[in-house]
Symmetry: C2
Subunit: 74 residues, 2 copies
Amino acid sequence: MIEHGVLNNQLSVLRAKKGYSQKDVAEKIGVSRQTIVSIEKNKYNPSLKLAFELAYLFEVEVEEVFQYILKEEL
Amino acid sequence: MIEHGVLNNQLSVLRAKKGYSQKDVAEKIGVSRQTIVSIEKNKYNPSLKLAFELAYLFEVEVEEVFQYILKEEL
DNA sequence: ACATTATGTAAAAAATATATTACATTCAGT
DNA sequence: ACTGAATGTAATATATTTTTTACATAATGT
């Protein structure tokens, strides 16, 4: 895939606001804690559904959880 | 994963507006045409990066390409 | 000092997205 | 009637995400 940008996310910030631990988020979404850790550290590229579920949990838009930083902006 | 919604998308509409074929989109994004077909038919759950690349191509927000329809709304 | 919770890391297995190839069908243009 | 472009479907192979399990460390409360 041609990649015009790189993924970034605000997961730890959003977690802190709500006072959720990684484990809390994992359980609320129904994935493993490892998945949350990996996403939080930008280790990989989650599925769109997972992104929407995270946005739903934190009651924000997908773009507030994940940012696609265009390479030309770096 | 707990799924509060189902994915829907406007790919064929956006393609039509721009006059792009599936092949065009596949080539512009750098994925196979099969991937575009499968996403368009809601056969699966693309990666977030791919969703962002599609939004970038069509010059719209991710939410204009993909909608997460909450099950309570169905 | 001890127990508990939160976080970070890692490796292997399982699940799923994506690639590749091939073929069928429909439709527009000639 | 023919050709080429666009779309739909399917099977297998490959790549990547996600799970599972386990262990290490730091921080907090008792």
